[in-house]
């Protein structure tokens, strides 16, 4: 699900852009360090592969079919840092050339799919990919990568005040789960084929330490998903809970602020200041990132 421009409230897309930029910079640096020079064309061609893979349909039955999304598959074959770079490049090309996903919303899409979704997909593989539960881990990775991205996108839209009744929310969550199962199955089918062609295509999962961290990650993802599911099923329940614990007032202002932005009809020149402040903020952030990058590069060069 690629969010186009015009859907996210300004604080939401601006925050996510500012968050995504340094993370992508870090991933690019890491991928560059971890791979030899010959891997640059490889990453590009693998991005083209993910694009092209969407032409091969996987029959699901009843005359319908699905296709690969690919975040988990890339993480298993190229490693998480390179996969993040490839996925970011895919999203950028989709936004620019195919008008699929927005430019201001690119940070949101990158966070949802190329970073968090990809990491969620890599997690089970890095934990159990070597052992007895390898197949299950591969399936779970595909499943989690898609579900996490979709749920993140949904929650960003909700936070931006895009109206979604509980019924619609439930239906879309159901659809997400179905496509996530499909992504898991497709990922598993391709990985098995790859392993039979040449096992070296797959990165060996780390079997050392960091298990606790992995478990925490998995638990966090499940909590997030369950939280959204419960919230959509029982909106009143959340409200009551919030009233009871006294966080209601804060939560309300937090939830309503982006929404209220749309309805400020009476303020005439406020937006000039706001837009000015926004532009100034963006250029400040841009300057800071540029400076930081330059300094880092110089330090490395020295």
């Amino acid at each position: 699900m690629h969010i186009p421009d015009g859907f996210l409230a300004t604080p939401v897309w601006a925050t996510l852009d500012v968050t995504a930029a340094p993370v992508v910079g870090y991933l690019a640096r890491r991928a560059q360090r971890g791979l030899e020079q010959s891997k640059v064309p490889l990453l590009g061609v693998m991005g083209a592969f993910v694009f092209a893979a969407q032409m091969i349909n996987f029959p699901v039955g009843m005359g319908t079919s699905g296709h690969l999304v690919g975040a988990a598959l890339l993480a298993y074959t190229l490693g998480p840092a390179a996969a993040g770079v490839v996925l970011t490049a895919i999203l950028a090309v989709q936004a620019l050339v195919f008008q699929d996903g927005g430019i201001l919303a690119l940070g949101a899409n990158v966070i949802n799919m190329a970073i968090v979704g990809m990491l969620a997909g890599y997690l089970p593989y890095s934990l159990w990919g070597a052992g007895r539960w390898r197949r299950q881990a591969i399936f779970l990775g595909g499943f989690l990568s898609l579900l996490t991205s979709a749920v993140l996108a949904l929650s960003e839209l909700l936070l931006s005040g895009v109206a979604m009744p509980a019924a619609v929310l439930r239906i879309s969550l159901g659809l997400f789960v179905i496509s996530a199962v499909l992504e898991g199955a497709i990922t598993l089918a391709i990985i098995q084929a790859l392993a039979s062609i040449n096992p070296d295509f797959l990165r060996q999962p780390r079997s050392d330490g960091a298990r606790t961290l992995g478990w925490i990650g998995v638990a966090a993802i499940f909590l997030a998903v369950a939280g959204v599911a419960i919230a959509s099923a029982y909106p009143d329940g959340i409200q009551k809970l919030a009233d009871a614990t006294g966080i209601s007032s804060q939560a309300k202002t937090l939830l309503r602020t982006p929404l209220a932005d749309y309805q400020l009809g009476t303020m005439h020149s406020v937006w000039v200041r706001k837009a000015g402040a926004g532009l100034a903020g963006l250029s400040l952030i841009y300057g800071a990132l540029l400076l930081g990058g330059k300094l880092l590069a110089r330090k490395r060069g020295a």
Partner: protein
């Protein structure tokens, strides 16, 4: 393939085509921010902005109907949410969603159809986007067509071998066949990448692409950015002051 159209459009010679990629990128970002943060008097403003973009398309000598149609690819996604907003009793929000997403897509379309992609990515590099990421994007775009064509061949072969879809609930054999086809496509792409790298080394690749255009950010580009800023922000201020 339809995106070849974009390559042809972007190689025009109009004044808009000749502007530096950075100037056009900044102008489009200003446009997207001004549009994205607009709240009041959205209808007249969107009409005005549509006029600006249409004027830019005409000035660039692009086919206007085809361009307007191409930008409409965002509408199916938007329509779902617009319908939900309408059902929730928020017609203005529905209109804003449709208007903003369509105009944003159209603005980006004007940018990429007046700037060849290598030049656009080169401009982004000079604006501080990591070069490694842009090189991956560059390779991705270059080999998109090659790999897509192979995928099309494989799809044809797959259909020829296994016939049409059976209407069963879950056909394990066919699912596996599609998986193996993609496994083979992956392996072929991998082999392609190695060949590409060796060919590049043979031609003396130094680690970054050289572009032939050699354009610099000139006075005309500065004027273009200033004019875009005044028109886009001025239009919004004027519309919101009057209405």
């Amino acid at each position: 393939m339809h995106h070849v159209v974009l390559d042809r459009w972007s190689r025009g010679g109009s004044a808009l085509h000749r502007r530096d990629a950075r100037a056009k990128t900044i102008a489009v970002l200003v446009f997207l921010i001004a549009l994205g943060t607009a709240q009041r008097a959205f209808l007249p403003l969107s009409l005005f902005y549509l006029g600006i973009l249409a004027a830019a398309i005409l000035a660039a000598g692009l086919p206007i109907v085809a361009a307007l149609k191409r930008a409409a690819v965002v509408l199916p996604f938007t329509a779902v949410f617009a319908a939900i907003s309408l059902a929730a009793g928020e017609p203005m929000r529905a209109a804003a969603l449709v208007g903003k997403s369509y105009l944003s897509a159209l603005a980006v379309l004007v940018l990429v159809s007046t700037t060849p992609l290598p030049e656009l990515l080169g401009g982004l590099e000079r604006m501080g986007v990591p070069r490694y990421l842009l090189m991956v994007a560059q390779f991705l775009y270059r080999y998109l067509f090659v790999i897509s064509e192979e995928a099309q061949h494989m799809r044809a072969a797959l259909q020829a071998k296994s016939g049409t879809l059976k209407r069963t609930l879950w056909d394990r054999a066919k699912f596996g066949a599609a998986g193996r086809a993609l496994g083979v496509l992956f392996a072929r792409s991998y082999a392609h990448a190695e060949g590409i790298h060796q060919a590049m080394l043979a031609r003396g690749f130094q680690g970054h692409f050289l572009t032939l255009s050699g354009r610099a950010f000139g006075r005309a580009d500065a004027f273009f950015v200033a004019a875009a800023l005044v028109i886009v922000v001025g239009a919004r201020a004027a519309v919101e002051a009057w209405i």
